[in-house]
């Protein structure tokens, strides 16, 4: 067993122990594993299932239902680009084209250098100052192509 796999097994096991007796604990457990490892490895599903008293199918079903959960490794930082109506009204579709071209990826993709993954999001609650994007936990307002390049340059 490689040391990185050893680390993830230990991390998953301790997280499972923490949430095993928490009512409805699967969601916070999955969030914690993803926050720690960047994704939820397929190899972790069996451990999660037995620890939480669920079938592997149930755990897989939850992971695959929610947009936020990923079973493949991701870029270091996720860029969420809002595609919802308030942002559309301020040019989000144009921004989307620019961002995809600039990063050379589509939604769901990760940049070649592994720095960024790009995801669509439907509303960041910043709709009076659209278009909005979120990089990590920071939200940015009134983002056009130039502003996006400026933010990325400073990141």
């Amino acid at each position: 067993m490689s040391s990185s796999q050893g680390n993830f097994t230990a991390m998953v096991a301790s997280a499972v122990q923490k949430y095993a007796d928490v009512a409805g604990g699967l969601m916070p457990l999955l969030h914690e594993i993803q926050a720690g490892l960047g994704h939820i490895p397929k190899d972790a599903v069996a451990t999660i299932a037995s620890g939480m008293g669920l079938s592997r199918a149930e755990v897989h079903g939850v992971i695959s239902f929610y947009h936020d959960f990923h079973d493949q490794p991701r870029g270091q930082t996720t860029i969420h680009l809002c595609r919802a109506e308030a942002c559309q009204a301020m040019g989000a579709r144009k921004l989307e084209q620019h961002v995809k071209t600039r990063l050379d990826i589509d939604f769901g993709g990760t940049t070649a250098d592994g720095r960024y993954s790009l995801e669509p999001v439907y509303c960041l609650g910043n709709c009076a100052c659209s278009p909005s994007i979120r990089i990590g936990d920071e939200v940015y307002a009134r983002v056009d192509a130039d502003r996006f390049d400026e933010i990325l340059g400073g990141n």
Binding site: A23, G24, L26, M27, M52, Q88, A89, V121, L124, C129
Partner: protein
């Protein structure tokens, strides 16, 4: 020698203010003040919701505040050069905050403290009337609390507008060994940010509202189901729950009453459908967010199969006002069967966007023109979508409709969560109709066929329609097919996701298709 106090400067910490650079402004103010040897104290308040003026700085005078905005970090040195904060003759000075017309014209009940107080300070919350509602609730019986909520006429602010008191009464009267309060903070509609603002600017109000609800129905455990898209709100909620617990306002013995109530925050994972109450309950139980059949109602069999009050953030917050000021005070606001205040969120292509709290009954035109100042682009307004992605697109002929639940239902539209998204004349209306179907296809939970399959077929038919329009060869059969599909989704879907997706689509066909779109 008399003691001098530092000058208090308020700089908002909410998502929008920070997205516009409020953190950098705060750093620059601290730096400039220290370089100039000025004694200041920076307070990170919540936002007042006048987002077009953010970052909005305020300097405290004797009992009032002077506002400056919108301030960028590059403006700060110039402000200090002009005598800030003692006095300041600068073009960014807006005068006394309370006199800013956009704020002064509002009737704030739920958002009265937003932007005024430090959201993390329990003392500040109490000093501005907070926890007066809980004090009242602790002095009366559960049934009397429910009566007050019933009498106030308060209806659910999440979109469905169900009378809150009736829901509470059902939970109160259902016998069970365990009951829950579940706050739906999965506000996912585009164009809405009222829940987020409340949680970031005045979070104790939500905690107090949930506690009052728990006392009324006999619940001991509460959950806040928060969208993952709101990381700042999560931080704030966790902090204030810890503070309230330490102060004995949550926990085993609320304010020495012998009553117990605890609140847990659960974070969603990017599924819009989890804003639907039964889908949210599934998610809280750690499952896929599949919509449940109703009945049984959540008030009878809800979270973990137990009686559960599911209310939206603003509904639970409004309860504090109802209890503190009395049902009649709340009842006095509004029109017809829509009582109290409506929180409108002006969003999209709008010059003066932000949160407007006013009594029900104002017109859309008043909101968008008087408060909003028209479009940000300066072009004419073409369409206004009210009530989120499932709400209708309205043309100018409908803008005089009063903003209340019944009037909007009459024109086949809805207020929903009060989001108002403005589009200028560059909008592609058929593209918006297609997006409604596309969004439904992406976010459908998949349980019922009209929603899961109908939304996909909907995008396909709209694509065909577009091709026909561009090639100028109209085939009436496709329009008929689309209307037929809308009817199937409307009448055959399990919940509002599939059931209301036709609303924006039909409004585009009804109002905008003839105009060359």
């Amino acid at each position: 020698m008399s003691q001098t106090f530092p000058v208090r400067i308020f700089i908002p910490s909410d998502t929008t203010a920070c997205a516009l650079g409020a953190d950098a402004v705060a750093d620059e103010v601290a730096l400039q003040a220290s370089q100039r040897g000025l004694d200041i104290e920076i307070i990170r308040n919540g936002s007042r919701g006048a987002f077009w003026l953010e970052p909005l700085l305020e300097v405290e005078k004797e009992g009032w505040r002077v506002a400056y905005g919108p301030v960028t970090s590059r403006d700060v040195a110039g402000l200090f050069d002009a005598g800030f904060p003692a006095s300041c003759d600068h073009e960014l000075c807006l005068g006394e905050t309370g006199d800013i017309e956009w704020l002064e014209r509002q009737d704030r009940l739920t958002f009265i403290r937003a932007g005024v107080t430090d959201p993390l300070s329990l003392a500040d919350y109490k000093a501005h009337g907070g926890y007066a509602g809980l004090d009242k609730a602790l002095g009366i019986s559960p049934s009397e609390i429910v009566d007050a909520v019933l009498e106030s006429g308060l209806r659910g602010r999440g979109g469905a507008a169900f009378p809150t008191g009736i829901k509470w009464r059902t939970v109160l009267e259902t016998v069970a060994d365990q009951k829950y309060v579940a706050c739906n903070a999965d506000e996912g509609d585009s164009g809405t940010f009222a829940d987020r603002l409340l949680m970031e600017a005045d979070p104790f109000q939500l905690i107090e509202g949930m506690t009052i609800c728990a006392l009324a129905v006999g619940a001991t455990e509460g959950y806040i189901y928060l969208r993952s898209e709101y990381p700042r709100a999560l931080q704030v909620l966790n902090q204030v729950i810890a503070t309230a617990t330490e102060a004995g306002l949550l926990g085993d013995d609320i304010n020495g009453s012998g009553r117990a109530f605890r609140i847990h925050v659960r974070v969603g994972a990017g599924a819009y459908i989890c804003g639907e109450e039964t889908s949210m309950l599934e998610s809280l139980e750690g499952k896929r967010g599949l919509v449940r059949f109703k009945p049984p109602l959540p008030a009878i069999e809800g979270l973990f199969g137990k009686p559960t009050v599911v209310n939206n953030v603003l509904t639970l917050a409004a309860v504090t006002t109802v209890l503190a000021n009395g049902a009649h005070h709340y009842q006095e606001y509004g029109t017809g069967r829509s009582r109290g205040t409506l929180t409108v969120q002006l969003a999209g292509n709008i010059k003066r966007g932000g949160l407007v709290e006013i009594p029900f009954g104002a017109s859309l035109r008043e909101l968008v023109e008087d408060f909003g100042g028209g479009t940000a682009s300066g072009k004419p307004v073409r369409a206004i979508q009210v009530g989120g992605p499932l709400g209708a697109y309205l043309p100018e002929s409908q803008w005089d409709t009063p903003l209340d639940y019944e009037s909007f239902a009459e024109i086949e539209a809805m207020l929903g969560h009060g989001g108002i998204v403005v589009f200028d004349d560059s909008v592609d209306m058929l593209g918006q109709a297609r997006f409604a179907m596309e969004f439904c296809a992406i976010e459908s939970c998949g349980k019922c066929t009209p929603c899961r399959i109908g939304s996909v077929r909907g995008t396909e038919i709209i694509d065909k329609l577009r091709n026909e329009l561009t090639e100028d060869r109209q085939n009436p059969a496709n329009l008929e097919l689309l209307e037929d599909l809308c009817e199937t989704m409307d009448t055959g879907s399990l919940c509002a996701m599939g059931g209301l997706t036709p609303m924006p689509v039909r409004s585009v066909i009804k109002y905008f298709l003839d105009e060359g779109q």
